[in-house]
């Protein structure tokens, strides 16, 4: 068996790659459902209904997708430049932390200023957190995979410390949680009787902006060039190190905004379980979207639906809710293969 590069890649093939990956993942995970002793089709039907079947389910899925779009963009931008940012979780939390610190009474501005202020400061916090691994990579060639991963744990412990100490809400009856974001800073709801908030439109807007940056600006071109072949990019006069720094600020900033959105939109205050792994889920979102910023929206909606639907399914039948994580993981692995099949033709000899 050998792999032969394709001369041209037809559009239908690119579009069908994620679909094939999703189908593969669902087929593989059907084995787990069967093992649980439940009918596969009914289980997936319950999952589907739990994700989009009712008005409530649909808004929950959109709410869940909001941070995933942003962390997905964060991963997509970084991976494009081959900056392996696995630290979305940490950047999410420093963004949330910044919003909590500034937004729970320290700064009071009218809403039209307060919300952008929180978003920008949160983005800066996330961006600066990723700047540390990026600079270590640039200056000392320290592998950014490990540094970003380890920073996740450090940040979470730091948040833990603040929530049990300086940032702890004295009215919280002993729970480690912060004071609430002041009303001026809360992202307004956009659908009545749901948790869906302005953050959803912010995330969609961010996807369009990131797409425009990657598609139309010199900076986006440089990010893609560095990712494609850093040596060639350097030879043609692109500042590779500068591009890595800018990519880090953009990527970390996007993950930071996700954290602001969850604190100021969905939850209203900071806790240690603010993120059920949004940073890591962002990697899956980005991979399923083949690192395309606009496809990230669809990919995040789909994966959010899997999480929300699986929660609801596991309450109805005897399939643990962790099936969602297994489906997501299988999607990541199968999309890797299906994307490869778009680039190569398999020749059996």
């Amino acid at each position: 068996m050998r792999l032969e590069p394709r001369q041209t890649i037809p559009m239908w093939m690119v579009l069908s790659a994620p679909v094939m990956a999703i189908i593969t993942a669902l087929v593989v995970c059907a084995g787990l459902v069967m093992w649980a002793g439940e009918p596969v089709l009914q289980a997936y039907w319950l999952l589907f209904k739990g994700a989009v079947g009712t008005r409530f389910a649909l808004t929950e899925t959109l709410t869940r997708a909001t941070p995933m779009i942003l962390t997905g963009l964060a991963a997509a931008v970084a991976f494009r430049a081959k900056l392996w940012n696995i630290g979305g979780e940490g950047q999410f939390y420093v963004g949330a932390l910044m919003a909590t610190w500034l937004g729970s009474g320290m700064v009071v501005l009218p809403p039209w200023l307060m919300i952008p202020f929180l978003l920008i400061t949160g983005a800066l916090a996330g961006g600066f957190l990723l700047l540390v691994p990026a600079i270590l990579k640039n200056k000392l060639k320290v592998d950014e995979v490990v540094t970003t991963l380890l920073l996740n744990f450090i940040v979470l412990l730091f948040v833990n410390f603040l929530l049990e100490g300086p940032l702890k809400d004295p009215m919280s009856m002993g729970w480690p949680q912060s004071a609430s974001i002041i009303d001026e800073g809360v992202l307004p709801g956009i659908v009545s009787k749901s948790r869906l908030h302005l953050g959803f439109f912010i995330a969609m807007g961010a996807a369009v902006i990131v797409w425009a940056i990657m598609r139309f600006t010199v900076w986006g071109y440089e990010i893609r060039a560095v990712g494609f072949n850093a040596a060639a990019a350097a030879f043609s006069g692109i500042g590779v190190k500068r591009t890595v720094v800018l990519t880090a600020l953009l990527s970390g900033g996007l993950a930071g905004i996700a954290g602001v959105g969850e604190v100021a939109g969905t939850k209203g205050y900071l806790t240690l379980d603010l993120s059920p792994g949004f940073g890591y889920a962002g990697i899956a979102v980005a991979m399923l979207a083949a690192l395309h910023p606009l496809a990230v929206i669809a990919s995040a909606l789909f994966l959010a639906g899997i999480y929300v639907g699986a929660d609801s399914m596991s309450r109805a039948i005897n399939v643990p809710t962790y099936i969602a994580d297994v489906i997501v993981a299988t999607c990541v692995l199968s999309v890797l293969v299906s994307l490869m099949l778009t680039r190569f033709r398999v020749r059996l000899r």
Partner: protein
Amino acid sequence: MDVFEILLTAGFWAATLRIATPLIFGTLGELICERAGVLNLGIEGIMTMGAMCGWMWVYMGGDLTSGVLFAAFIGALFGLLHSIFAVYLGLSQHVAGIGITMLGSSLSYFVFRMLLPNATTPPKIDAFENVAIPVLSDVPFLGPALFNQTPMTYAAFVAVIGVWYGLHRTPLGLAVRMVGENPLAAEAQGINVLAVRTGAVMFGSALMSVGGAFLTMSAFDAFFFGMINGRGWICVALVIFASWNPGKALFGALLFAGIDAWQVRVQQLPGVNIPYQFFLMAPYVLSILAMIMVSRKALYPKALLVPFRRGERT
């Protein structure tokens, strides 16, 4: 007792060896994979899988030794899966590894919940007990400090010697190092590059899995969610710190474990007012510092991250 007197207690040294054991297994496993040219970021998930599988084997009625072997077998299977993506298909080793980690952890939790749906407090098994080595364990201070451990800790030290010998003194080890440095030359010698890489990744993953199993079968006697807690990532950092050398890997793991054991004891000293979270950060901060320290002279295996396709020059 002050912060330095801790170092003079036998309990501290015994704890150091205990904490080091999973790190030794994990670091050796990652080291073998990387020496063959394959980064294995599946380590965190493979360790979770090993922790769950070994424990579950014993909980379901198996004995401890076969439980460890079962964990190793499952680890090797995950290594095979990683090889299919990273070696045979030549896909991004970073993304494939992260995917394996996501799969390993989620599958562990799924299987655990599936088999024990109603477990609220984690059920327990009869874990490995300490085995005192005759004569040596009677030596004052050193005996209780070093020679009264569980069999898996002794096995970790044997594994260091075995991996060192295997990598540096056998033809097979030479082949492993060769496919990680110069796969074309290895192929010219008649070595099947893909097969050697696959074998190395499977063996390395088996070791990682045993490291995970140590936690549920030796250090503790139950499986908790999130119990690997970044140990796998620390192992990846330790491999770089050890510059891909089994002996230095042992040293690195012991150094880290020592600092970890020390910080736990410093926390409990009267008059120490540093919040405990900062102590818990120590292993992660140290891992980053260790990587910065060795960064200037880090000699990566030359073909690390480079996929090999037969009949193709790069």
